[in-house]
């Protein structure tokens, strides 16, 4: 833990050296989700509803997803960058150091400009908490927190899974982006608008629905849902297990990339 904080301090120092670049990337990190947000609110202004969801309700979905993704990106971006660590032999150096592997990979790249998305997501979430007209109880608030955290775990697990794939291919597979970036894109709208095959996949294979849509139904008090739905985000933790195992298997089988 102390090491992680050191990594954070170093990253902050390093990135603030290039101050103008830092601010510009941070601006872009804010502008991208903002333009998306503008798009969503314009669509709601035009059509009023999205498959029976009001704007406040849908923005809860958007906010939870953005915050979860931002948290995952802030912490686990190193895994996203892992293929290049693997390809240039950096991983061999990591292996010989007497510290945890995952911690070092995590620390290899802490991109602080990603705070931009976190801020946008947080503001949207706060606004939607009011705009959705939910009558908040401690349980519901705790559910939202759990959704966000477990959502971040799911995104992080995907980053780790992508890194584990890199052991097989050395080159990064863009395919993982479908599930990280694509998953974010998809999970920010209520899952009910999608086709059945897509819903099933993102409930039972990659549990985005469990950390987002389904518990949100309970928070919004939709008929047929009960407090049990508040525990569903924990299924997201179950998803982390195979991803971590894949990572372990990858590190075990690793025989350097030469040069």
């Amino acid at each position: 833990m102390r090491l992680l904080l050191r990594y954070l301090r170093l990253a902050a120092k390093g990135q603030l050296r290039y101050r103008s670049t830092f601010y510009l990337t941070a601006f872009a990190q804010i502008a991208m989700p903002l333009s998306l947000l503008a798009g969503i609110s314009l669509l709601f202004a035009r059509f009023g509803t999205l498959g029976g969801w009001s704007m406040g309700e849908a923005l809860l979905c958007y906010g939870v997803t953005q915050v979860a993704f931002a948290l995952a990106e802030l912490s686990s971006r190193g895994f996203d960058n892992f293929p290049s660590i693997l390809a240039n032999g950096e991983f061999d150096r990591i292996l010989v150091r007497p510290r945890g592997l995952m911690l070092q990979v995590l620390g290899s790249r802490l991109d602080l400009s990603r705070f931009g998305r976190l801020i946008v997501g947080g503001i949207v979430l706060a606004w939607a908490a009011k705009g959705s007209g939910v009558e908040w109880t401690p349980l519901k608030a705790a559910t939202i927190a759990l959704m966000t955290l477990c959502g971040a775990v799911v995104f992080s697990s995907l980053f780790v899974l992508g890194a584990a794939f890199a052991f097989l291919t050395t080159d990064g597979l863009e395919l993982v982006n479908i599930f990280t970036d694509g998953g974010r894109e998809m999970a920010q709208y209520p899952m009910s608008i999608y086709e059945r095959w897509l819903r099933l996949f993102f409930t039972f294979v990659i549990p985005f629905a469990c950390v987002n849509y389904l518990p949100l139904l309970f928070v919004l008090g939709r008929p047929g849902t009960g407090p049990a739905y508040a525990l569903l985000p924990l299924a997201g933790l179950a998803f982390a297990l195979p991803c971590l195992l894949a990572w372990r298997a990858g590190t075990r089988r690793y025989v350097s990339t030469g040069s």
Binding site: L24, T25, F27, L36, D171, D181, I193
Partner: protein, 269 residues
């Protein structure tokens, strides 16, 4: 003997896997675009089902699929990394030594790069999308004139986006920080061009403002021309509008690039 065989075997496997993972990368890129396309179509159509949509369901599908198929022709972030590294390392000073006009040289290079990438990528997407069941199917153009107008708008749109993005390259010459220039431009362009949501979904006032800007002529115009959401009879006027913007931006860009390159000589080592 056995050891050297093993080495060759290993080498072969490495090359093989490397080639495969490159092909996999191209495949994965297309797969990503399909996924993205499906999500966008489902979202827009879910909104449109509330009624009063200015775009029909199949017009939405064709808008999204063409957007994915011709991504390389219409997005800002498709950039020439080699040219950018030329700029950053200061090798762009050599461009001044060439007996050709640097602007024309870069322009041709950027346009060719985009065209090649689009030709590689568009075929599988157009083909598969036109075989999908409704409401996801990419139907043919609404009429023959609409199809021809779509191609003409796309072609002029390519020249226009190269003329627009050229300013990001010029800014890179000045700041030597290409990422910043593109990151700054992308969100603004994407919103104004109809990449975030199609222009017809926007309120009237905002739409009128955006129609005064050149950006939507690169994305919104060709994509809607195809499905007849913009009648083909308006094509001549809109093509003229594209041509005027090109005629305005190209000389301005050439002037700016000349200035930037002259003053960058000191920086390039």
């Amino acid at each position: 003997m056995i050891a050297s065989l093993r080495a060759y075997g290993g080498l072969f496997r490495m090359r093989f896997l490397r080639g495969l993972s490159y092909r996999a990368a191209a495949l994965a890129g297309t797969a990503t675009q399909f996924f993205w396309g499906f999500i966008l179509i489902m979202v827009y159509q879910a909104f449109a089902k509330a009624g009063g949509s200015p775009l029909g369901l199949s017009q939405i599908a064709s808008y999204v699929w063409l957007q994915q198929a011709f991504l390389a022709l219409i997005v800002v972030w498709f950039r020439d990394k080699e040219l950018l590294s030329l700029i950053v390392t200061g090798d762009s000073a050599y461009e001044l030594c060439r007996p050709v006009d640097a602007y024309a040289f870069w322009f041709a290079r950027l346009a060719a790069g985009r065209l090649a990438a689009a030709l590689l990528r568009c075929a599988p997407i157009v083909l598969v999308a036109s075989l999908l069941p409704d409401p996801y199917r990419l139907h043919g153009p609404s009429s023959v004139p609409a199809g021809l107008a779509f191609l003409a708008c796309l072609a002029l749109g390519l020249l226009l986006i190269v003329a627009i993005t050229m300013f990001a390259y010029i800014l890179s010459v000045v700041t030597l920080s290409p990422n910043a220039a593109f990151m700054f431009a992308a969100p603004i362009y994407e919103f104004a061009a109809g990449m975030v949501i199609p222009l017809p979904f926007m309120p009237e006032g905002l739409r009128h403002v955006l129609e005064l800007l050149p950006f939507r002529l690169c994305v919104d115009l060709p994509l809607r021309m195809y499905s007849g959401a913009i009648p083909a009879s308006q094509a001549p006027l809109l093509l003229l509008q594209q041509a005027l913007w090109i005629a305005l931006l190209v000389p301005a860009g050439r002037l700016a690039l000349g200035k930037a390159l002259r003053s960058s000589q000191a920086a390039g080592g």
